[in-house]
């Protein structure tokens, strides 16, 4: 499995996608990418295409599911939504992420 070629910290893109879907409900790939860019407020250099391998990975793990639908401006698009397993995984990962960040922060705070 290859690492997605992006400047997003490795492993965090999955988390961001799951969080976006958990918050906004079913979204197409474009909507997810837009949302992540919005939240990042320009602090993230995201190649929008890189979310597709991530979406596939999450779908293979059954954390999200997808179906064809119509976008707001009447284009056929594939909509992704989070599954129950995905929510459980998100909760666990968010928790673990928070602890990791807190730990790193403490480490950085001590000189």
């Amino acid at each position: 499995m290859t690492t997605p070629n992006s400047e997003v910290p490795y492993g965090t893109l999955d988390l961001m996608v799951l969080k976006t879907l958990a918050g906004l409900g079913p979204q197409h790939g474009y909507g997810i990418a837009r949302r992540i860019e919005q939240v990042a407020q320009g602090s993230l250099n995201l190649n929008q295409g890189t979310i597709y391998p991530a979406l596939l990975r999450l779908e293979q793990k059954a954390w999200i599911k997808s179906e064809w639908g119509t976008s707001e401006n009447n284009r056929r698009a594939r909509f992704y939504s989070i599954t129950a397993a995905g929510r459980r995984h998100l909760a666990a990962e968010a928790d673990s992420w928070a602890r990791t960040v807190a730990m790193v922060n403490r480490l950085l705070a001590t000189d």
Binding site: Y30, Q48, G49, S71, R78
Partner: protein, 878 residues
């Protein structure tokens, strides 16, 4: 795991998923572009901007694809498709390889199906795999035997490695007294609780109660479904009815389910206690067979060890009865089928050699194809394919080939098994559970062969081709040093193939000769229009005179019947092999009663015996009326005369046929005639035989021999009618024409001879086809060169010779090596078949000449075609 399944699905739905990805990415780009347009960009600019912020579409697709599917399997699928395409390209080579390999694998699969049916199958009872069969072996005569009742009772309580020891014995018994015609049936006696131990329960009624299994209890019987259907029309009212078995009234208490024939063939079952004369049986009457379940953890070896120790103890404890007798422990399949199939290992060996030839042949065909492919491989190497990748690709091609051959093999084994079934269709003693279904084990064997043979035939060509270097070959235009190396391998394989075929043909030749000579040994009787049947006189024929009276009256009536030309009764008919063995007593010499000493067979015959067999007495005279009333005379067969009176005239000599334990009772007999050696048993042991008038040995067990005046179909009812007229309580057992009887009794010889002929033919076919294709391929490769030669005026003969020269050299070398190897291994078959005919140098030499001739003819066809090529077309050939 879930990821794996999803990836697997991706693999199968590759096309759909690819479309979905493209559409999805396109939708995304469109959405982006829409947004840019909304901000006022021109559509073209918007699309460009969208691409920029999206990133490289193809890189994304690649990353996506890498994550999808299983790269390894993906590659394999690719290789597989490629190999199927490659197989389609060189059709003649591929077809030859698939068919010859398929026949080779199929031959092995057929032999394995038989092996599986005869020796690997468990008895169809509960936990049949736990069962072991226990018998005895006379170590001096090296003859297998059963177990006596005292031994069974002792072992029943003392054995530790097995539990639930049970005894059974199948015998023939007359069934009558139920309204239908008397019939001889297979009756099986079982020791206590046997049905429960085996897990067998009746479909109707019940099995024996403990009381019924005691000696002296009112006799009961459980019958088989087949007998119930055949004789009683599946009438449930049979339960509780009384029938006569022998002369005893017996109550029917149960019917076993359809197909149940424990242990091998049975029409009915009775408790062991109902076996006549059972309790009086001494230790020397060993007519029981034992079965037992191994306790958990006990292997066959454990049981053998325990039984061996008991055997030694019994030999010391009972020296008079057990000195030369040792227990014998076998699997149930060995117990029932081992004897017949001693020839199976030889079949397996020869079939294995045939498969080896087929593999060598396939390797050769692949090498021949490799010559045409070195350019392709060189290209792939130049483009960066690793050696491992090339070998993998080629091995997958080999496996694909073997799988296709597996399909052919399946057809071959279906046909082979049909032939075996056909040969065995009349064999009544074959256990009903030894059917030749291709069960899971056979399919696994077949699959195994398809996976193992590619290693045998595919590795060499793959290794060879993978040594191809990139640039070098492209420069050479596909020929040069590689071709020469290839050529050496091809030649070597052709030589190996033909030489091996020669060995196989010699081995099969020896075995076929052996089987046919065993089959035809001492077949001096005129089997035409001959019918035989068995019968047993009931106990009401108490005295010898009563029995003689029956023999005389029945014989006279038969001979008087217009549809019967000649008839006789005797204690045993030829080929049945059942006669008492006695020791020979000669005047002035003590009788050797020690075990292992010379034995003679005694057959008592009624009037007209030799006439009805169509055998003339060689010297002296046949028995006359006076002899039949009880004169102490004998006729000996030629083998007897040769063995015991090699230098004297046997006529007028005095002999004794001494029964063990009754030395003083033996009468002196005067030899009045010498008969030819009539074959008496299926396995010829060449036993010297003494014929006495029936009165001299009035056994109740008789065989009827009838020669029909016209058709046997008319004589058969006449035989039944006459018996009914003499005594309607006697059942006729197994009446059949001698042709039928011979085909049944000698089926192993016919079958194995047939199978060996087939295997020899396959070896011949495969190696010849291989040589033909190799030579034809050499012509194809050298077409341009041949064209040049023809164009500059080479005569046709020179071209033919140029091609044939090499093939001839190979054939000569192969035949020399093969003949030498065949001569060296001429005694090999003796290991498998004790009676294997000795082979001289003639057989290998003759086969070498034959094989060489056929191979040369096969090579000449393409060689001659080469000489008649059109030079212009040949020059253009690429």
């Amino acid at each position: 795991m879930r990821t794996f399944i999803s990836r697997l699905l991706d693999l199968l739905l590759r096309r759909q998923r690819e479309d979905r990805l493209s559409e999805e990415l396109q939708a995304h780009l469109d959405l982006l572009a829409d947004e840019h347009i909304a901000r006022g960009m021109s559509p073209a600019e918007a699309r460009l901007a969208a691409r920029r912020s999206f990133g490289g579409v193809d890189q994304i697709k690649e990353a996506y694809r890498d994550q999808r599917g299983l790269p390894l399997i993906d590659g394999l699928v690719q290789d597989l498709r490629y190999s199927v395409r490659m197989m389609g390209r060189e059709r003649a080579l591929t077809l030859t390889a698939v068919v010859t390999l398929g026949i080779g694998i199929g031959a092995n699969n057929t032999v394995f199906t038989m092996f599986n049916a005869f020796l690997l199958r468990d008895l169809p009872v509960r936990n049949g795999h736990e069962l072991v069969a226990i018998g005895t072996r006379n170590i001096e005569l090296s003859r297998p035997g059963g177990v006596s009742l005292p031994e069974f009772r002792e072992w029943q309580t003392e054995l530790r490695s097995v539990r639930s020891l049970l005894a059974h014995r199948t015998r023939q018994a007359g069934l009558r007294g139920d309204g239908a015609a008397p019939e001889l049936i297979w009756l099986n006696h079982l020791s206590e609780r046997s049905f429960a131990i085996l897990g067998l329960s009746p479909q109707l009624g019940r099995t024996f109660t403990p009381d019924e299994e005691r000696a002296g209890a009112p006799p009961t019987v459980v019958i088989a479904d087949a007998l119930w259907k055949r004789r009683y029309g599946s009438d449930p009212a049979i339960l509780g009815r009384s029938v006569l078995i022998g002369d005893t009234p017996v109550t029917v208490i149960g019917v076993m389910p359809a197909g149940e024939s424990f242990p091998a063939i049975s029409d009915a079952w009775q408790p062991l206690a109902q076996m006549p004369g059972l309790l009086a049986q001494p230790r020397t009457t060993r007519n029981l067979s034992l079965l037992a379940r191994r306790v958990p953890g006990a292997t066959m070896a454990t049981v053998r060890q325990e039984m061996a120790a008991i055997g030694e103890r019994d030999a010391t404890l009972h020296p008079d009865t057990n000195k030369v007798v040792r227990p014998r422990v076998e699997t149930v399949a060995e117990f029932h089928n081992g004897g017949w199939w001693q020839v199976l290992p030889a079949l397996i060996l020869v079939a294995g050699l045939v498969l080896l030839i087929a593999c060598a042949n396939t390797a050769n065909l692949l090498l021949a194809r490799a010559a045409g492919r070195s350019r392709e491989i060189a290209l792939r190497v130049s483009l960066g394919a690793t050696r491992g990748r090339i070998v993998r690709q080629l091995m997958i091609e080999s496996v694909t080939l073997a799988i296709a051959a597996g399909g052919v093999a399946w057809l071959v084994s279906v046909a082979g098994i049909r032939y075996v079934e056909h040969t065995m269709r009349n064999v009544s003693v074959r256990p009903r559970w030894t059917d030749f279904t291709m069960d899971a084990q056979v399919l696994m064997f077949l699959a195994g062969l398809c996976l193992v043979t590619p290693i045998l035939f595919g590795l060499l060509p793959a290794w060879h081709l993978s040594r191809t270097k990139g640039g070098e070959l492209l420069k050479e235009g596909g020929r040069g040093s590689t071709s020469r190396r290839l050529h050496r391998w091809t030649s070597g394989l052709v030589v190996a193939e033909i030489a091996l075929s020669l060995v196989v043909l010699t081995c099969t030749g020896i075995l076929i000769r052996t089987m046919l000579s065993l089959r035809d040994a001492d077949r001096v009787i005129d089997a035409d229009h001959l019918i035989t049947a068995g019968l047993t006189l009931p106990a009401s024929y108490k005295t010898a005179d009563q029995r003689l009276d029956f023999v005389t009256r029945f014989g006279d009536r038969l001979r008087a019947n217009p549809s019967i030309a000649a008839a006789s009764l005797a204690s045993t008919m030829p080929l049945s092999g059942i006669f008492p063995l006695r020791r020979l007593g000669l005047p002035g010499a003590p009788v050797t009663t020690a075990p292992g000493g010379p034995e003679i067979g005694v057959i008592s015959v009624g009037a007209g015996y030799f006439e009805s067999l169509g055998v003339a007495v060689l010297r002296g005279r046949a028995f006359d009326h006076g002899d039949r009333l009880g004169a102490p005379v004998a006729i000996v067969n030629r083998r007897f005369a040769d063995a015991h009176f090699p230098n004297a005239d046997p006529i007028g000599q005095q002999i004794q046929a001494v029964e063990a334990g009754k030395e003083s009772a033996a009468a002196w007999l005067t030899i009045v005639g010498v008969s030819p050696s009539v074959r008496q048993a299926v396995v010829t042991e060449g036993t010297p035989v003494v014929y006495v008038p029936y009165r001299g040995e009035p056994l109740p067990r008789l065989d009827v021999i009838v020669r029909a005046a016209g058709s046997t179909a008319a004589a058969m009812p006449a035989l039944r009618e006459e018996l009914k007229a003499v005594d309607d309580t006697i059942a006729l057992f197994n009446p059949q024409t001698t042709e039928e009887m011979l085909s049944v009794r000698l089926f192993t010889h016919n079958l194995t001879a047939g199978l060996f002929i087939a295997l020899g033919f396959v070896a011949l076919l495969v190696s010849t086809a291989g040589l033909y294709v190799i030579t034809a391929h050499a012509v194809t490769i050298r077409t341009q060169e041949i064209g040049v030669r023809l164009a500059v005026g080479a005569p046709a003969g020179a071209i033919t010779w140029m091609i044939a020269r090499h093939a001839t050299a190979l054939i000569v070398v192969a035949c020399a090596i093969g003949a030498a190897a065949a001569y060296g291994s001429r005694d090999l078959m003796k290991v498998f078949v004790a009676q294997a005919a000795a082979s001289d140098w003639m057989l290998p030499a003759a086969i070498a000449a034959l094989l060489g001739g056929i191979a040369l003819a096969a090579a000449m066809v393409p060689a001659r075609r080469a000489a008649h090529l059109d030079p212009v077309a040949a020059l253009r050939h690429e």
